[in-house]
């Protein structure tokens, strides 16, 4: 038997302070619900960026138009909305040019719905990787939020182009105001809200696939409960609270109010959306962390 020198001194190991302070890590059945290990996600930040890159590259590889697809999608949606809701149904746009009105709604809504849908299938679509190697599972949904921000920014650029065109032409219906500075806040709120909701759905779908069916058309229906294709002002006063109960409503309204000057803005409604975001994000993270430990057995 060839002699293998096995009892060498191991490399010095830095012991981090933990509840079992002699050990760097303890693998246990159930940990504290509030131990979210967000530090782990930070340590793996390179991986998050790698996922974002992968998402981006793989989506448009081997397509002729490449990233131009980012423009085509919202443009075609807007066009459809103009024809159906603007021309056929003749829904009000608060006197704004239809293309700007719809494009604003579509840009914002797309970010939310695409992020939510993508995150909601995180466990199921990544079961193969998750079953083979450990890395903080949260990196995956977080990377989806970030990848979609890139997408959003491109589409937002398109919106800005159209918006500027109308302003330079001297269209008097468009009256932007200082609330434009809230745009990053709105974006963050939508990102975090879709992250929270997506994590809840993805966690539950590991066991109950029914939910993925529910979500796909649920998101579609939700769009009609959000002032995307209509201004909030067109809803009768007594039913307005129903639409405002939807935390996405005030975000879409605020965005449109900031850039176009029509619609309404109210700190209370926005505050409600922010509170909702925080609660849903916390709940989502807790559920996600709980499920990630054993989902390979049930997925």
């Amino acid at each position: 038997m060839q002699h293998i020198e096995v009892l060498r001194q191991p490399k010095p190991i830095v012991v981090s302070p933990s509840n079992n302070n002699e050990w760097t890590e303890v693998i246990e059945p159930r940990t504290n619900l509030l131990d979210l290990r967000l530090g782990d996600v930070w340590r793996y930040r390179d991986l998050v960026m790698m996922f974002v890159r992968r998402d981006f590259i793989s989506t448009y590889k081997q397509t002729v138009l490449g990233p131009i697809w980012f423009f085509i999608q919202p443009l075609l949606t807007t066009l459809t909305f103009i024809i159906i809701f603007g021309q056929v149904a003749k829904l009000s746009t608060d006197g704004l040019p239809q293309i700007v009105f719809y494009l604003a709604g579509v840009t914002v809504w797309n970010y939310f719905s695409q992020t939510l849908t993508a995150i909601s299938t995180v466990f199921v679509t990544n079961a193969a990787i998750f079953g083979k190697v450990y890395f903080p599972r949260l990196t995956m949904p977080v990377s989806i939020v970030l990848a979609n921000i890139v997408r959003f920014l491109i589409q937002f650029g398109l919106f800005l182009g159209v918006w500027l065109y109308y302003i330079l032409r001297g269209d008097s219906t468009i009256n932007p105001n200082w609330l434009i500075v809230l745009t990053p806040v709105l974006l963050a709120m939508m990102g975090l809200m879709s992250l929270g909701l997506g994590m809840i759905f993805s966690s539950l779908t590991t066991k109950y696939r029914d939910l993925s069916m529910l979500l796909t058309f649920g998101v579609q229906l939700l769009m009609y409960a959000t002032p995307v294709i209509y201004p909030l002002s067109s809803i009768p006063e007594e039913y307005r609270w129903l639409v405002l109960a939807n935390p996405m409503s005030s975000i879409v309204e605020t965005f449109r109010y900031a850039f176009l000057g029509s619609g309404s803005f109210n700190w209370v409604y926005l505050g409600y959306s922010a509170l909702f975001t925080v609660v849903i994000l916390l709940a989502g993270t807790i559920i996600f962390n709980k499920v990630e430990k054993s989902f390979t057995d049930t997925v």
């Binding site: 191991p10 693998i27 246990e28 590259i57 793989s58 590889k61 430990k293």
Partner: protein
């Protein structure tokens, strides 16, 4: 600080059999209700040891139960066991892919696990991009990968294709690149599944060499799970033997491998007359028993370094006659790889009964297949008893016993890759210098 790298304490993992579907919700609610009242999980108590061959009564099984062992820092530990022994489950828990049901594992140091090579490789990305992606998934930082990038590419030997999407790679190139990334992980504790059985022989050698390097030079702790006794015996000084989800023994690898071989031992090393199906029958010659004997009695699982005695008990039923017993040894594909019979010029030792007329009665004949002769694979033996050397009138027991020969590490001090061939005798090798 202790020098224990991993301590496994009372580890258990319960699985639910069958489909996850309609019953799930009701069980979940039951569990939740029990927890609300501060009671124990009602389904945790039930469940049985994991033996897939017997039909169980419970819906729940324990894939692992009460597993305890320590791994010293710098130790290279082999984990061996038959299929379904719980090795993979243990590995998954160690890799944090799934959580245990009971117990805990305490770890000292950074763990990286290789349950598969190339996890997360994306076909559309180039080799270069995949190195970064896969490295990050395995826990390396970007700067770490930058530092090792050239080495990784060099090790993989696919430099020319590094900027081509990996979907254009041959499967060999793909695996090489994937393994190369894994090979340059630098955790204090490395957990390796049988990912070594990849690529061609040359690359396998490279991989095993790299593992050896990592363990001896860098003094890292390695847990190595494998069916490949050759690799285990060369790489690991100590091993853990698992069966039905529990640790059977823990100790010196040589010892553990011997036990592993003996787990396979069953009474199937003996077949009695009623169970012998004779395709040809000579009414005067009857099998009483056919058995294979190792150093510990009848068995159907042997070590390479073990003599196998094939023993045939037969009866001369009525008329006195000469008897020529013979055997065939078949490989996995049912091809006869050797035939032998009892005759003076065939046997290594003289047999006084050869060519003698045997009166009515029972006889026993033994034939020894020497150690270091067969390869580590499965064989089947057929036995025959005939009147005379023409083999015209005989009783046959075809494919009467199947047995396996196992690696013990005895011939594996140099080569650890696959050893092809139907037999593996030790031969004389000699070099002379030409003048």
């Amino acid at each position: 600080m202790s020098n224990i790298a991993i301590r496994v304490e009372n580890l258990g993992k319960q699985y639910r059999l069958g489909e996850i579907g309609t019953g799930t919700l009701s069980h979940d609610l039951n569990r939740w209700w029990a927890r609300m009242r501060g009671k124990e999980d009602p389904f945790a108590k039930i469940g049985e040891a994991n033996d897939r061959t017997t039909k169980g009564n419970s819906e729940y099984v324990w894939a692992l139960k009460d597993v305890n062992f320590d791994v010293k820092a710098g130790e290279v530990l082999g984990i061996i066991g038959r299929n379904g022994a719980g090795k993979s489950t243990l590995l998954k828990i160690l890799s944090k892919v799934t959580a245990p049901t009971t117990g805990r594992i305490k770890v000292n140091g950074r763990i990286a696990s290789l349950l598969e090579v190339g996890t997360g490789f994306h076909p559309e990305l180039t080799g270069r991009e995949n190195i970064y992606l896969n490295g990050a998934i395995l826990g390396m930082s970007k700067s770490e990968i930058n530092r090792k990038f050239d080495e990784i590419v060099d090790f993989s030997g696919v430099e020319r294709y590094i900027d081509t999407p990996v979907k254009r790679y041959s499967s060999g190139m793909y695996v090489r690149l994937a393994f190369a990334v894994s090979a340059f992980l630098e955790p204090e504790i490395l957990i390796v599944d049988e990912v070594l059985a990849v690529g061609d022989a040359e690359f396998q050698k490279k991989c095993l060499g790299r593992m050896k390097d990592v363990s001896t030079n860098d003094g890292r702790t390695i847990l190595f799970v494998s069916h490949n006794m050759a690799a285990v015996s060369t790489l690991c000084s100590t091993s853990v033997l698992m069966q039905h989800g529990t640790v059977l023994d823990h100790g010196d690898t040589k010892n553990i491998i011997e036990q592993y071989i003996s787990i396979g031992r069953t009474s199937n090393g003996e077949v009695w007359e009623d169970d012998i199906k004779c395709t040809l029958t000579n009414p005067n010659l009857k099998f009483k028993k056919v058995s294979l004997m190792g150093k510990n009695g009848p068995s159907n699982s042997f070590g390479l370094d073990e003599d196998i005695v094939c023993q045939i008990d037969y009866e001369v039923v009525s008329d006195s006659t000469t008897v020529v017993p013979s055997i065939h040894l078949l490989n996995n594909y049912g091809e006869c790889i050797l035939a032998s019979f009892n005759a003076t010029s065939v046997s290594l030792i003289p047999d006084p009964y050869f060519d003698k007329v045997l009166p009515k009665g029972q006889y026993r004949v033994q034939c020894t297949i020497p150690r270091y002769f067969l390869n580590d694979t499965q064989y089947t033996i057929s036995a025959f008893i005939a009147n005379d050397i023409s083999f015209h009138n005989m009783t046959s027991a075809e494919e009467v016993i199947s047995f396996e020969v196992n690696e013990t590490g005895a011939m594996r001090q140099e080569h650890i890759g696959t050893w092809i061939g139907q037999i593996r005798p030790r031969l004389e090798w000699k070099t002379t210098k030409e003048l």
